[in-house]
């Protein structure tokens, strides 16, 4: 049992080293998205330590959301497109598609935020579709079909997380001011 566990840990370590680019980018995207709502935490007068913990936790959760989204793409590729996929290679290829989201911190800007967010989300989806089309030689329509469930999942997870954290923070602020 111990031997098996060691082997699995070794494999996991090797996989993590192999997927360093993809995972680093995912973390960067998560951090950028998390930073875009730092004002909500400031407005609620949290301490510096609380803000840091919030930011890091949100960043990790957001990265996980994109990891799950990438996992969905891999499963669909294997099931429906009958392509052999190496998780680390696909992740290293998919993560750069999320590069526009590194600039998600600009969603913090007032009023133009919705437009910036919309453009970034669209670019990410287009990038993923293009990647599947180019890397796996899938027709564009099929690539779009395969990429969409993962994309919708990422959107849903990010929406849920933001609704839980920053939206509540802004609502709390508004209710305090109105009280």
């Amino acid at each position: 049992m111990g031997q098996w566990l060691l082997q699995q840990l070794e494999r996991l370590g090797a996989w993590l080293v192999h997927t360093d680019i993809g995972l680093s980018l995912l973390l960067l995207v998560g951090l950028s998205m998390s930073l875009s709502h730092v004002f909500a935490l400031l407005a609620n007068r949290l301490t510096a330590r609380q803000i840091l913990v919030h930011l890091l936790l949100d960043a990790l959760m957001l990265s996980l959301a994109f990891l799950l989204s990438s996992g969905t793409d891999m499963v669909l590729l294997t099931l429906f497109a009958s392509r052999q996929v190496s998780p680390s290679d696909v992740l290293n290829g998919l993560a750069p598609c999320l590069l526009p989201a590194v600039f998600y911190v600009f969603v913090a800007a007032p009023y133009v935020s919705d437009l910036i967010a919309l453009v970034i989300w669209l670019m990410v989806h287009l990038n993923v579709v293009s990647f599947l089309h180019a890397r796996f030689d899938l027709p564009p329509a099929e690539a779009l079909l395969l990429a969409t469930p993962g994309y919708v999942l990422a959107l849903l997870l990010v929406w849920v997380l933001f609704r839980q954290s920053w939206r509540n923070s802004y609502s709390k602020l508004a209710s305090q001011l109105s009280g």
Binding site: A43, A108, S178
Partner: protein, 358 residues
């Protein structure tokens, strides 16, 4: 104010539709001319630079613009939050604001200027307009003017903590630079700051903080001119252009802080309609039939679109709180604007009519 006949309403609606079309036409022609100018500029540049260099230059310029616009907005927010956190001068406690001796009036009309406001003193045309309005107000009504609606502290931009050096330099460029283009650019940059503040006020995330801070600032000013919470006074927010948005943003907080009923009168107002307006006693919007900026506001802010019937603005309209008055032929500014000799009398008339409503 007599209710307009159905025919007059139809004529005005037609006139506004035509204005919107005219505005779109002007925008299209402007865009076409800009493209021609851009093409000429490209021709000159291609003579000096290679195609690859030019492409790189254009990309860099685009990226710079894309980064600068949100960065300016975020910087503007930082000042807001610094004040919120008490780093600058601290937030005054609402219950201490009206503690002093006072000689209250029945009604206070608080004027909030448009995005052209640079300092406490209004431009000469606006000052004349306000003087004429003040002369026609009832004896128990006080006009409160000189409020800086676009800075956090009760100071002008040139005294704003952290960015004073920048604004002073810009003002100097705007007033003394021999090149007219540089003067224009400096003026645009100054107004861009105020546009950002209007954007923050209408933003569902940051609006509450900016509006609360502005409400406190207005309270401080009201205390100076003798307002007292228990005197039964009424507050009227009179906003021009972007001042209309600030008025709508601040109204609910002001009502809670002062305990007084609040009414809003906007003229040539550009506002989002995102604000909480349930508690506002009445809203009067005075618009010019040839005002493209106010018309643009209706397009730019989704909350005012009839496609979103549940938006705050549309719900307020349905509740019957909003009255609309149109001045035929009036533009947003300049020779046909609300401060021009030609139209200011009509605007004052409409403001007085709105004030006399129960």
């Amino acid at each position: 104010m007599a209710a307009p006949s159905a025919a007059a309403v139809r004529v005005l609606q037609l006139s506004q539709r035509l204005n919107l079309r005219l505005f779109m036409l002007v925008m299209a022609v402007g865009l076409g001319l800009s493209l021609v100018g851009f093409g000429q500029l490209l021709l000159v540049l291609t003579a000096v630079l290679s195609a690859a260099d030019l492409g790189l230059l254009l990309r860099l310029f685009g990226v710079l613009l894309l980064v600068l616009i949100p960065t300016a907005g975020i910087y503007s927010l930082v000042t807001q939050f610094a004040f919120w956190e008490g780093w600058l001068a601290g937030l005054p406690q609402p219950e201490q604001i009206f503690a002093g001796l006072s000689s209250p009036q029945r009604c206070y009309v608080i004027y909030l200027d448009g995005i052209h406001q640079l300092e406490r003193d209004h431009p000469p045309r606006v000052s004349t307009f306000l003087a004429l309005l003040e002369a026609r107000l009832q004896a128990d009504t006080r006009l409160v003017r000189g409020l800086e609606a676009y800075t956090v502290l009760p100071v002008a931009l040139a005294e704003d903590a952290g960015s004073a050096w920048f604004w002073r330099r810009l003002f100097a460029l705007q007033e003394h630079h021999p090149n007219g283009l540089v003067q224009l650019l400096a003026a645009v940059l100054v107004q861009a700051n105020n546009v950002i503040k209007v954007g923050i006020s209408s933003d569902r995330r940051y609006g509450p903080i900016l509006n609360y801070e502005l409400a406190l600032k207005i309270c401080l000013r009201l205390a100076e001119v003798g307002f007292r919470r228990d005197a039964g006074s009424e507050l009227v927010l009179l906003g021009y252009s972007g001042g209309g948005e600030m008025a709508m943003g601040v109204a609910d907080y002001l009502r809670r802080l002062t305990g007084a009923p609040v009414r809003i009168i906007s003229f040539c107002g550009v506002f989002s309609g995102n604000q909480v307006l349930d508690g506002v006693a009445a809203i009067t919007t005075i618009v010019g039939s040839r005002d493209p900026v106010a018309a643009f506001g209706r397009v730019a802010y989704p909350g005012r679109s009839p496609l979103l019937p549940l938006s705050n603005w549309n719900r307020t309209i349905r509740s019957g709180q909003v009255r609309r008055a149109t001045i035929p032929g009036m533009n947003h500014n300049g020779q046909r604007g609300p401060f021009s000799e030609r139209f200011r009398g009509q605007v004052i008339q409409q403001v007085l009519a709105a004030l006399s409503q129960p």
